[in-house]
Subunit: 277 residues, 2 copies
């Protein structure tokens, strides 16, 4: 682990680290925000952010305005990159496949399988690393945006008990049913639709053992609504009796301006689960 | 005026506009944040932000986190680009001269004089444009960062009565005495040191007619401290009896992480002057 950036921020510190990931077989970068409580020596719970297509670890830490809320609630924020990277890692000319488009799953198909293991990375390697190197407790929550909203929802649903809470901004809720998801699932997982369903939030809520409440915010002027389909999640949760708070916001789009407008409420939501506050 | 971006943000709307500037003789872009009060039809006072070297209109609107505070206080935020732009505009290979480095003055020397008239643009053309196209009152305040902190301080000091309040993050307070300022002043204004002093905050406070209080925040770990020299401003204000609040913040650097950490206090400072709240 090598620290490559550090900036004082709201009484805490925004850092960027790089390390060699064993799960992904490449160098990875991650943003880590340490709130004032952590700098004072207190162990703090960790809130993981998963970003959307094309993002690196930088987008969230520079644009979301989350640090002020993490400082207030005493949460560590961890924001990893969105895929393995580098010349040795497979890629595709499209922005929606390959590097920058890891989709938070473990690929089974060539040429993606050896490196594209973002589920292993986010669920196992990253928390182990964070809990070893920073003043972190083992309490974890997860949230994300778009592809990262898909990641947050599916990883929380696939790993019961691992996350105290989950939320998403404009998530891809039914990747098996929309172009973005169909393209990458065919590439990463092959043609077996059962394998797709295991990484599809709408399919997963139908059989979820743990009734972890889902908090989802969605802008009604989101230019990617056909890829997101929030009503499919509402219907699936309604049918399964899975608790969902789905809020539709007139005028809001898919950008970080939307995320910033509601990030404080999401961090407070996770703080209640992580700290009981 | 053509609107090229619009995003819902904290109940208001972040917009980006382009127009042909008569002062600068080129196309210019500017960020305009309209708070909920303005969208509801209320005329609101305007807080102008001036950015630092290399910035465009995008840096402040994506990274500073100011919208939430402008929404709360009912202020319009206007963030112009930092210089004239385009193939017809003179430039220099250095990041600190020419395009992206307008220094908020009117150049008198070739090849800069015809286009580099940022003082005219910010003080006259821009407010006229804003007050014509948006639900704005004629109450104005100004703040900025680094080169833009220099801009805010010098424009407020040079135009008494024009701004209700002024503040700066990590401003270049004495450009005549530091490399950044000496390079651009020689280029834009020539060798006459009296012309330099007319655009130097430390020189201007010595003879300021209006005792407009200055609010300045400065990080003590700022990597550009030798170019900023806040103690020169403290000494000049002390000698002139000019009111100054200079706050030095241990650990903070020159980045937008620093700006974001204190932007709420600056917007509140301007809201008190603009709205008496």
């Amino acid at each position: 682990m090598e620290r490559i950036e550090h900036h004082a921020s709201f009484g805490g510190r925004q850092e960027v680290w790089k390390h060699t990931s064993s799960a992904l077989g490449c160098e990875m970068r991650l943003g880590v925000y340490l709130p004032p409580a952590a700098l004072a020596g207190e162990r703090c719970p960790v809130l993981y952010w998963l970003s959307g297509l094309t993002c690196t670890e930088q987008n969230f830490i520079t644009k979301a305005g989350a640090q002020q809320h993490a400082a207030q609630h005493g949460l560590i924020l961890v924001a990893p990159d969105t895929s393995p990277r580098g010349a040795a890692v497979a890629d595709d000319p499209g922005y929606d496949l390959g590097q920058g488009a890891g989709f938070y799953l473990n690929a089974t198909q060539a040429p993606w399988a050896p490196h594209f293991r973002m589920e292993d990375y986010v669920v196992n390697e990253l928390p182990a690393l964070v809990e070893q190197h920073f003043p972190a407790t083992e309490k974890r929550a997860i949230f994300g945006h778009s592809m990262g909203g898909h990641g947050a929802l599916t990883l929380a649903l696939r790993h019961p008990g691992r996350y105290a809470s989950v939320s998403a901004f404009a998530p891809i809720v039914a990747p098996s049913q929309v172009p973005w998801g169909q393209k990458v699932f065919a590439a990463y997982l092959g043609d077996d639709r059962a394998a797709w369903a295991a990484h599809d939030a709408v399919a997963l809520v139908a059989t979820a053992r743990e009734r972890l409440p889902l908090l989802v915010d969605q802008g009604e002027d989101d230019e990617f609504l056909p890829q997101l389909q929030p009503e499919l999640l509402r219907a699936a949760c309604s049918q399964a009796g899975h608790p969902l708070t789905l809020r539709l916001w007139p005028g809001y789009d898919h950008s970080y301006y939307f995320i910033a407008s509601f990030i404080g409420e999401h961090v407070a939501h996770h703080a209640r689960a992580l700290r009981g506050a």
